[in-house]
Amino acid sequence: MSSSVPPSTSAISTEANAEEPQRDSSFLRYISTKLGGAALSLVMVVILGFFLFRILPGDPVAAIARERQMTPEQVQLLRESYGLDKSLGEQFIDYIVNVFTLNFGESYVYSQSVSSLIADYFWPTVLLTGTAAILAIILGLWLGTRAGWKRNSRFDKFVSSSSLVFWSVPTFWLALILLMIFGGTLRWFPTGGMVSLDAPSDPLGYSLDVISHMVLPVITMTAVIYAQYLMVMRSSIIEEATADYATTARAKGLKEDQILNKHVVPNALLPTVTLVFMHIGGLIAGAVTVEAVFSWPGLGKLTFEAITGPDLPLLQGTFVVFSAIIIVMNFLADLIYRRLDPRVRRA
């Protein structure tokens, strides 16, 4: 039953050319796929943002009318000026058109355009959460690396358990405790706001004033979030520490800390980086509690106030901005991951 004609000798494969992988440095295609994905998510968010807040209970116009003497005609006029007399479909079309011109309408409560409000409150949030995130990442990754490398050591046990304690603590509780002790009793730091009324006008004095306002909220946020980075990095290090290439490195004669820094850490960072970046986006959105407790003039506080309205345009605006930040961060995570992992880079 033997069949087929034998091919020539040259046709017989040796492994040298059998599995020659194609090197396709398709950076552009990668970027455009990821960008496309991000853009699609953003569109979904914009659409969701409209409908989500229409199902919130409460009539914003009635809420405003309650606080002043208004005739039914005036109420109707207000309704028209907000465009709330139109049908849902018309309102949606208005909204979409406006969003693309970055016009989220006018805040009911602040009587100011939502875009300018968000622009005002955006940078304080970035300052606060950015600082906290950087501190938490450095602290978490560094401690996680040491703890994982010396697994079950006294250092590991102390660092892991204490980080979990901070993680389990409710944010507002920690914030209030810090506020009471260091703001109230000891009076080391201001209890709220970003700038004192009598802040010095020279750049150095002004910066110091802002920094003193930042200390407590930054400590609160950092303490609550660094544990996640620590635990992920720790388990990642533990897994990579026993990998075969670490044994190869040891056999080559590398010192232990060289093995850790040159071989284990770069591999352990891979799963961690994705997580870290996905968290940063959420972090900004999660700043609501901290900003509310410390009266930090950021997007979190703005959202908090918009919900009590309900200030629909403002809510829509902050919602879209928060979502956009998360989407951008995820996009950055993809880019950085590609940078770190050659298997993705040259896949």
Binding site: T14, E19, T247, A251, P342
Partner: protein, 554 residues
């Protein structure tokens, strides 16, 4: 130039915590000598202590390992060295060829950087500057028949054989006196294996390097070593001239190990895989039975001009080309070929797990259903057994749950516990109740594979497709699993397609052999005919590449 001496070496692991098994004596009173420029092979199954012994040379054992006795590189007792001196000795005087095809190279560094790192750690006059080191890396790659521009490649861009070559280049980088090769060809297929073994043997002898090679496969050692030691349970039970140990082993265990990988053409081993418990008479019967009523039985599975094409980044790859295959009820066919030849894709297509383009598969005369209830009914009759039982079993499920899962999916009507017990009994895990609660981690490799097979048997299949069912198992276990397959087909009348790169396996259990090369079946027919009198050049090449314990004699 120093050799390597083990004098009364014992190594003990002290375990504690969850996996507390007290003191584990991994190596017991081993004395071995690797002479200058000589080659010594250590054979043994997993857990025999061979790797522990080898790693002790560079003091690479974990902290809980305690070494007594004397390990000496040349005249230096390694326990006398400070940690700094030890690091200086590592790689410069003795280096290791790890199983590079797997994970021994750092996935995020270029191979050039990894070789350079070794050179930069052990600088000599020959590679003082960065430029000289770069040249040296290129020279090393050329030495192992790799293009010099592969320095910029990452490990994942290389094939298994290429990674192994990089590993060899790296081991030679600092011109060591001793090389320890730890399962250097285990994950590679026969043709590549032969190339790599030949290369190691040539490079080592040219440079007068002493080599210690470790393998579970005696035939690999026979090809590359002058002397062979056989280890079992931490002890060296036999040591001697390679030819002597392979062809004329004194200890019973050595004989088993030597016989585990059959010599093709040896009628003793035809249809009789070697098991730990000696020959089983049923196997002999099985042979006679099936020799009688040969291929005239009912056709179970039939492929007709089957094609599978993958599209990867715009390129069309024809993984399976016009394949015709016929499997009868109760027949075992071995599908052999190198990795990348399309055997696994074909298997998936036969099980309707892979979209095909062109051609047709018929099961018991019926075309494979595309979906719905018919497909589900087919899935019950055709079962798949994977290569690595540790990966195939969910580590969190007990044996009972793993086996019962399939029964539940197919809404088994009878007594579930009874069916599970029966499947375990069929897979020779008896008494079955003892295994119900076990999780995979608590079982040996062979037992795990039996659980996988039991899971397949529970559904009462008519067809078994096994993808490298014994490739990850030890030699003695290998024979038992193969013996089990033979018995099952006799008892249950199963038809089986066994995918393998191991021609010895085909010789052991298959009625016929189909040789696959680049997506095509280039030769098929009765096992004796194909293996004894190969028509296709590729089959010939496969046969030539298969290592044999007779290699030393040749």
């Amino acid at each position: 130039m120093p050799g390597l001496t083990f004098e009364d070496v014992s190594i003990t692991y002290s375990t504690s915590g969850r996996n507390d098994r007290g003191e584990v004596h991994a190596v017991k009173n081993v004395s071995l000598t690797l002479p200058e420029g000589g080659t010594l092979g250590i054979a043994g199954e997993s857990g025999s202590g061979k790797s522990t012994l080898a790693m002790s040379v560079l003091r690479l054992l974990p902290k809980n390992a305690k070494i007594t006795g004397r390990v000496a590189v040349g005249d230096t007792d390694i326990s006398d060295l400070s940690f700094g001196q030890m690091r200086a000795l590592r790689w410069a005087e003795a280096s290791i060829i790890f199983q590079g095809a797997m994970h021994s190279l750092n996935p995020v560094q270029t191979v050039g950087a990894q070789i350079t790192e070794a050179l930069a750690l052990h600088v000599t006059d020959k590679w003082k500057t960065a430029q000289l080191r770069q040249d040296r890396v290129k020279e090393l790659l050329t030495l192992v028949d790799m293009p010099a521009d592969k320095t910029a490649s990452y490990p994942h861009e290389l094939s298994g054989g290429q990674k192994q070559r990089v590993m060899i280049a790296m081991a030679l980088a600092c011109e060591p006196d001793i090389i320890i090769a730890d399962e250097p060809t285990t994950a590679l297929d026969v043709i590549v294996q032969k190339q790599i073994l030949d290369m190691i043997a040539k490079l080592v002898s040219e440079r007068g390097i002493s080599m210690l090679m470790i393998s579970h496969d005696l035939s690999v050692l026979a090809t590359a070593c002058d002397q062979i030691a056989i280890m079992r349970y931490g002890e060296v039970i036999e040591v001697g001239d390679a030819r002597e140990v392979c062809l004329n082993p004194k200890e019973e265990y050595s004989q088993k190990l030597a016989a585990a990988f059959p010599v093709i053409g040896d009628t003793e081993s035809r249809m009789r895989p070697v098991t730990r418990h000696g020959d089983q008479p049923e196997d002999a019967e099985a042979k006679i039975d099936f020799a009688d009523d040969g291929p005239k039985r009912e056709v179970l599975l039939e492929a007709d001009k089957l094609n599978v094409t993958y599209t990867s980044s715009g390129f069309k790859v024809r993984a399976v080309k016009d394949v015709d295959l016929t499997l009868h009820r109760g027949e075992i066919i071995a599908l052999v070929g190198q990795s990348g030849s399309g055997k696994s894709t074909l298997a998936r297509a036969l099980l309707a797990l892979q979209d095909t383009d062109g051609g047709e598969v018929r099961f018991a005369g019926e075309k494979l259903p595309a979906g719905g209830r018919e497909l589900k009914a087919f899935r019950k009759k055709a079962q798949l057994v994977f290569q690595d039982p540790s990966a195939a079993l969910n580590p969190k499920l007990s044996v009972y749950e793993s086996i019962a899962e399939g029964l539940r999916i197919h809404r088994y009507q009878g007594d579930e516990a009874e069916a599970v017990a029966q499947a375990l009994t069929d897979a020779e895990l008896t008494p079955p109740e003892r295994y119900f609660g076990a999780i995979p981690q608590e079982l040996s490799g062979g037992q795990r594979q039996r659980v996988v097979i039991a899971g397949a048997l529970a559904l009462g299949p008519e067809l078994l497709i096994a993808d490298e069912p014994v490739a990850s198992l030890d030699a003695s276990v290998r024979g038992e699993i193969l013996g089990l397959l033979l018995k099952l087909r006799k008892k249950l009348g199963l038809g089986a397609l066994v995918i393998t790169h191991d021609l010895g396996l085909a010789w052991n259990i298959a009625d016929s052999v189909a040789v696959m090369f680049r997506g095509e079946i280039v030769e098929q027919g009765p096992t004796e005919e194909v293996l004894m009198n190969p028509q296709h050049e590729y089959t010939q090449q496969l046969l030539d590449s298969a290592p044999s314990i007779r290699a030393g004699a040749a």
